[in-house]
Symmetry: C2
Subunit: 418 residues, 2 copies
């Protein structure tokens, strides 16, 4: 057995051992640990910023692009926000131990109770705040977590994970509840996602490449998150005063995230009138337009789109634009290219809106609103560990409840099956 196998097995065993205890540690103890973790981040600000600057210098030396370096960078304000988000998790209700209860005709009393999943492995990319958020949500829901961040943020992640794990242990959380894998080579991930004996679920969070690698190779159950090829369909009865801000918001407010807009579909009946207005606004926001033939005929500055464009998550100031015949063609296009994350229609027609809501298959389907709302916080869930684009277990923003499963506790007095 090679060195990394042994090391990983040790991490897995420690996590599993911690999880068995964590499963029935009370909410008050978990909350105290979260508050201690929040305080520890503030106390160790200098150390965190120093580690982060090492990561940033390394990234700059490697010539990594500006938007990625921005995701990587921590500031005093950023650390204060991470600390604040730990406090918020402490004040969220604990799903563990919740449930319902009924009695069977034979007198068996049945309790259906929420319990932790066990051991969660999080595999993620640049942003170091995921280290803190994921650890907090897993701890609050009674799960041990194995964190595996990207190589770009490794120094920041090491310091953050150590600070919060030590703070949690000071408050009685079992050792091994929060662990970071410090090696960033690819082999470790391949091994990790096959450790069914220790890990109950893998959550990949990052770009499409990372997510597909995990989905294709894992034998541990995976919750697929985040790839978003989101569409806005501006229907022939759209109110342009709603449509233009919704498209601009979806595309430009934060282009690097999964709920950002990637494709605009426009009804042929309004294309001549709408596209020049929309195009001018997109240009003002420095958005490159990749259009179908009809779009390019109306907007001379649009670049012709290729087949590949319809299936691309740009995560950048680029939008693909296609003119469609009607609602059915729009829904067929979405059916073919959507990653089932978030889709929006802009229309004033009641029946069209209802058909879109019911017939489009996605985690979140909007009428007259920006796809950027698909987020645990903005949905009112308090916190999120990712946005699921699969249908099993969780769909859409995942909060604490999605990090739990159920168990039946059954109270008998000698019942047997007749």
């Amino acid at each position: 057995m090679s060195g990394f196998d042994t090391e990983l097995l040790k991490i897995g065993q420690k996590a599993k051992f911690a999880a068995r205890k964590l499963a029935y540690i009370g909410t008050a103890a978990k909350n105290e640990a979260l508050l201690e973790m929040a305080e520890a981040l503030i106390l160790h600000e200098g150390e965190i910023l120093k580690a982060n600057s090492v990561d940033i210098k390394a990234a700059e030396a490697k010539g990594i692009k500006k938007s990625l370096i921005n995701r990587l960078s921590l500031t005093s304000e950023g650390i204060r926000q991470m600390s604040e988000s730990l406090r918020e998790v402490a004040f969220l209700p604990d799903p563990v131990g919740e449930g319902d209860f009924w009695t069977r005709p034979n007198g068996l009393r049945m309790q259906r109770m929420r319990v932790p999943l066990g051991v969660v492995a999080m595999i993620y990319e640049a942003r170091p705040n995921v280290t803190v958020d994921a650890a907090a949500l897993c701890l609050k829901s009674g799960n041990a977590v194995i964190l595996r961040g990207g190589s770009e943020a490794i120094e920041s992640n090491k310091v953050l994970a150590r600070i919060i794990a030590e703070a949690a242990e000071r408050k009685g959380i079992p050792e091994g509840s929060i662990q970071l894998i410090e090696q960033t080579t690819h082999e470790w991930v391949q091994q990790l996602i096959k450790m069914n004996q220790f890990i109950d679920v893998v959550i990949p969070r990052g770009g499409a490449g990372l997510i597909q690698t995990v989905v294709r190779n894992a034998t541990v159950p995976v919750i697929e998150t985040g790839t978003g090829i989101c569409h806005a369909y501006v229907e022939k009865e759209a109110d342009f005063d709603k449509a233009i801000p919704i498209v601009i918001n979806g595309k430009t407010q934060k282009p690097g995230v999964c709920n950002a807009l990637e494709t605009l579909l426009v009804d042929r009946k309004i294309a001549q009138e709408f596209l020049p207005l929309m195009g001018a606004e997109l240009q003002k926001h420095h958005v490159e337009i990749r259009g179908c033939a009809e779009t390019c005929a109306i907007l001379p500055y649009a670049v012709p789109a290729t087949e590949e464009d319809w299936g691309t998550e740009y995560l950048d100031l680029i939008i693909s634009v296609k003119v469609v015949k009607d609602l059915d063609e729009a829904m067929d296009h979405i059916y073919q290219y959507s990653t089932r994350h978030s889709e929006t229609i802009i229309t004033e027609n009641y029946t069209t809106a209802q058909r879109f809501l019911i017939e489009v298959d996605a985690a979140a389907v909007y009428v007259n609103a920006s796809t950027r709302f698909t987020d645990g916080g903005r949905f009112g869930f308090g916190a999120e560990i990712g946005i699921s684009t699969q249908k099993l277990h969780a769909r859409g923003p995942m909060g604490l409840k999605e990090l739990t499963t159920i168990k039946y506790l059954i109270y008998g007095d000698g019942q047997i099956v007749k």
Copy 2:
């Protein structure tokens, strides 16, 4: 592309196409189809029995063991029961379209609605009634189903699937909603469980071999069902008048099912007194005892157990018996060998019972009752498509709700993210 690839792709495409329509067919239409299916089974009784007798003759010729042939056999009464179970599904509440609703401070109105998963692939073994039950539950929950039964029941399954699919289509259910794969070679399963483009979930139902093959090789999400190494722990404060019937019931009432008992753990403090009574009763029921050294010393007729016995699901009139020091040793044994299906303790001690309920990690944990109760019907869920032994999506008996996912429908009037 080989012949079977093309054929399977066609089945997948048809199912996906049907699912897109089925997703928003109303409950009344689905119920009418279920009642038509129920009637059709009765009308075609002769044809079904004829096909079944072909399967049984083939099985007898192959020398397949009696218990398997029993599972395969249909009778007039069996057909009447299948028909009745279709009627029962028609009268169950439809989970599709249920949900909750809230409003965000910015005025966005949020609906969380249950929707079908899409296309369900069921891979199962001998019992032909699974063909009918699975089709009924998938139809009621708005899913298209691809059925793949075992070779032993192929003639029965072909006739059953054709009769119910035709009945459903007569009532307006889209063609392709209920399909049976008529080829029973292994390659077809291997291909089926990798058709992510068409299939949303695979549910294997059968022996441990089948289930592990599917779990290890599928790229489509799997709901793992049914392997049950279930334990009864007779604790030192057990009431023997409860313990003996619970063990006999768990082991002998229906030994071939996943919630049957496989291992008995006995507290050392009562072993000398309890085991002779228990052993005599097990012998009366023709149960072979495979015991640890202490058990064999007390029961001279017990066969020495090997390490392999503790990890074996016998599904037969065999029980492994181990003497343990205390609750902790019992729970450690269960932790190591349990498939997390159903576990029971027999005790009169309150604190011991509570610790067992909370600390044992399984879908169903019992005090003073038989593990044989772990079943959708006996839990009060009306019907079940299998018993999940995994933690994601569903745990324990799975009914209609577990065949659905959720979707957010969001009503805006121009909201954008600030």
